[in-house]
Symmetry: none
Subunit: 114 residues, 2 copies
């Protein structure tokens, strides 16, 4: 995993693009791209990876994983009508009692504001 620079270079060359072409489209300097491809960059920022993923047509997740960032779990359950998952999702794990109190408090907040 030391040499994902080669991987980025392969992606670019597969698209027959020059460093300066990628620079223009991704708004990332050709200097930095060169460093990236020669293994002199350890962990490019998620934003940079996101731009490159769009240009090269590979998934953002894949690039995140390539450079060693934790990758979000896919099976995250995220939606609920009752609001339980939703509140825990934003506030952290909570007990049923706490959930009830929070929902009541949320109601209080909203009535107060009116």
């Amino acid at each position: 995993m030391q040499n994902y620079g080669d991987y980025f270079r392969a992606l670019r060359e597969a698209k027959n693009m020059t460093l300066r072409e990628v620079e223009k489209q991704a708004d990332v300097s050709n200097a930095y791209l060169s460093q990236l491809e020669s293994g002199k960059v350890k962990q490019p920022s998620p934003l940079t990876l996101h731009k490159l993923s769009e240009i090269y047509g590979v998934s953002y997740d894949l690039l995140m994983e390539k450079v060693g960032y934790p990758v979000p779990e896919r099976k995250e359950k995220v939606k609920s009508e009752s609001g339980k998952t939703s509140i825990a999702y934003r506030v952290g794990d909570i007990s049923d009692d706490e959930e009830l109190e929070l929902l009541n408090y949320l109601k209080f907040i909203r009535n107060r504001k009116k």
Copy 2:
């Protein structure tokens, strides 16, 4: 959220943890955590966010989005004018301000019975 430092602080206090407790579990210095919570850090690394997400029991995705990193594409993800993920995707109809209030109230709840 402009100052997500408050959010991280609320998460920690809702768990009744000290900076040094989080430091131990996350292997992130208490000094840096303090800077993070007081808004002196712009974009903590994905690895740091991942560790904190596990300790605080919130989703890694949520923290990534909070600090402004691109989040992996999801099926029906819709962007609002502000660029943030829309309410339709976000679970529950909870604003950032409400979220902070809920976290602070949760902290109150948990300290109350001691």
